[in-house]
Amino acid sequence: MIFSYYPGCTLKNKAQDLDRYARRSAEALGITLSELDEWQCCGGAYPMAANETGVRLSSVRALMAARERGQALVTLCSACHNVIKQTNYDIVRDATFSERANNYMAPEEYHGETQVYHYLELLRDVVGFEELSKKVKNPLTGKKVGAYYGCLLLRPSKALQMDNPENPKIMEDFLRAIGAEPVVYPYRNECCGGYVTLEDRALAAKKSGNVLASAADTGAELLVTACPLCLYNLTKTTSADQKLPVLYFTELLAEALGVKD
């Protein structure tokens, strides 16, 4: 199966692990991720806050490019995923946005035809967690792993339609599929501090610290995330005594599938 793939800018530099292990794992699972040609930055999470049309056009272009190829579009970075899926949602439901965006795209038009999957959804809905567990070569048996969702992966749930944002289970189910023991801790869907880290590092450190403390208190040895910014805040802003290893979920996937190295 071939899917169009939108890695996003961070996956090309800071978050290369997220990208690399995702590609290797997909291959092991019989899925071809075909990177879109000349994709442009999704704009981070800012376009959603500013509610402007211009800054969301790159997402519209990515969605159109996947439609041209007749493929569904796979995203991985939480922020890219959030912006692209919301854009796909709004273009169907928000008449003003749809009209403005399509004015830019003329003579072509886009009306939400492309199906967007987050990589986790790809595992759940296309591969299937049960199928995935059969392909695991090195099960992470006994490893107590906490899933860290952050804010962008599931919210707003009406647009993203991925999982219950208050009590999610997609990452826990994923962890179970690769043999690990998921640890459900209360702060798994609380904010890491996000972009506040640029403005008020201490506040971000506090927010991330709460997440690590809650995970450690509940018995997690390791956290996984899908978001480069979460990983940054959890590992770089927190104090040394609070450190808990934080990895991209794709790294554990690659390890379980035996394609890490």
């Binding site: 209360p186 809650s214 208190d217 018995g219």
Partner: protein, 665 residues
Amino acid sequence: MQRIGVFVCWCGSNIAGTVDVEAVAEALSHEPGVVHAANYQYMCSEAGQNLIKDAIREHNLTGIVVCSCSPRMHEATFRKTAAAAGLNPYMVEIANIREQCSWIHKDKATGTEKAIILGRAAIAKVTLNAPLIAGESPVTKRALVIGGGIAGIQTALDIAEAGFEVDIVEKQPTIGGKMTQIDKTFPTLDCAACILTPKMVDCAQNEKIDILSYSEVTDVKGFVGNFHVKIKKKARYVDETKCTGCGLCTEKCPVKAVPNEFNLGMDNRRAVYIPFAQAVPKVATIDPNHCNMLKNGKCGLCAKLCTAGAIDYKQQDEIIEREYGAIVVATGYNPIKLDNYDEFAYSQSPDVVTSLEFERLTNAAGPTNGTLLRPSDGKHPHTIVFVQCVGSRDTSGCGKEYCSKICCMYTAKHAMLTREKYPDTDVYVFYIDVRTPGKNFDEFYRRAVEEYGVHYIKGMVGKVAPQSDGKLMVQASDLISNEQLHIEADMVVLAAAIEPDKSARPLATMLTASMDTNDFFTEAHPKLRPVESPTAGIFLSGACQGPKDIPETVSQASAAAAKVIGLLAKDKLTCNPCVAHSDELMCNGCSSCEKVCPYGAITYLDKEFRMPNRTTAIRRVASVNEAVCQGCGACTVACPSGAMDLKGFSNSQIMAEVDAICKMK
């Protein structure tokens, strides 16, 4: 030729504000057939009605058009006025230029133009009106109350008190409803059971009242005064006439781990059970989903033990058919499911409970015998956080947009009682607004704050996080001091929104009673007819119509009973003469009308007709039972040959209205 009078009402400024009433009267005075046109400030007032009466006499009018409010408001008024002046009441037409015109337009020119068009349509219709004479139908002097909570109980007692027979249909094994689960009642703090159970017993002992417990209404036919209802009496596998309620079976039954609904699943009951000690009827019920004997034929212990010989494993559901003159809906409410509110960790921690569960935890007949203990470890909680508006006033789509009305008061009650009984407990209440209108309500809330030292904090809880030490970390905002709060609580109590019982929607369909988008029954008029459904003969009692506390429910229950008594006291009801009739010469007996008639008013007759050349032929033709027909008009639309027509709303009248509206002037 008809002589028509037109009367344009100002309705103070309600109509005159956006419609030039004088211009409307002037324009309509030139319509064909109109011999008189007038306008007046309040046409429904005595002076206004006299103006109409005088005009009818003076101008010898044969039909009148009143341009005013909705016919639902004053059609009956003006029909009476016409009748008083010697005109047939069905020679009156209303042009609704208020709800359908002045209230929805801002521009006076547009409003005036539309009012003229609506008036013209009414004139075109009244020109074709024919005098109609209303018939009469008898009244079955028995009432049905659906739902046996405090609302249904009060309604039934009041109807029985007036000497009429009344049946209560209750789907649970006992009457009593939600009030049986409540510990104390605000604002007087008297015990709910102490004031409710005597009323339950009164119902059982009143010979005018028949309690059909463990039963559901499955079908309703007929109309006001003459309802025909099918009631399914579910098999309880115990003969009600023999069971003495001794409770021996409920003690010895070997199936012990069935979640007890009465205590909201916080403890267990047996497969054969009596919901609680004061149940009415006090009769055991066997739960077929858990009884070994009913599931796989192995056991039969209760039958062996029962000295009364009441156990009957072969009992079947039974359908009871009865006739009623009036039906009262008292189906009540339920707290919403909290699936959409996982931020409060309700599904993750047993120490996060709903307010109704908290009632059971403080009730002497509850799972902890009235001692407040944490469900997780049975220890005494020292810090309790109450969260209000969980699912109420929620515009996010997760809950309900309306205020559930009762939560502010019961939360104040819970907080106060906790502080009184356990002074070492810290109690916090998070609220959006505290709403305590009601007699002695605000004083009650002030007492909780001022005398009992409950910490009321304006702000919402964002998250409840269970910790490894068993505590609940409550994360909240204090909107007044603009602070983020973190409270380590032992228990969290959620004031879940309330919603109508799930059985209400299918019941409304059976009764053709209207509901709002939240599935609350709609009243005939929100101010002036608050306990009647727009469907004649259907009355509303209690929370099925909107969130209500006990005092308000009881008032409404008695009000509904008064309306029922007023109806049942009549020997005959005036029928609506606007009913269908079939032109036998055009009818081809195809049965289309019979199939669509919701009231079963159409039958077929074989009639002899004269044919050409002195021959005769027998033809099958439709015949309408005018006492049963409700004038809905479905048959007139279904009839392919145009034989079926509705008196007062004939096809030609409707078309004349449409023509008048479309005519360019």
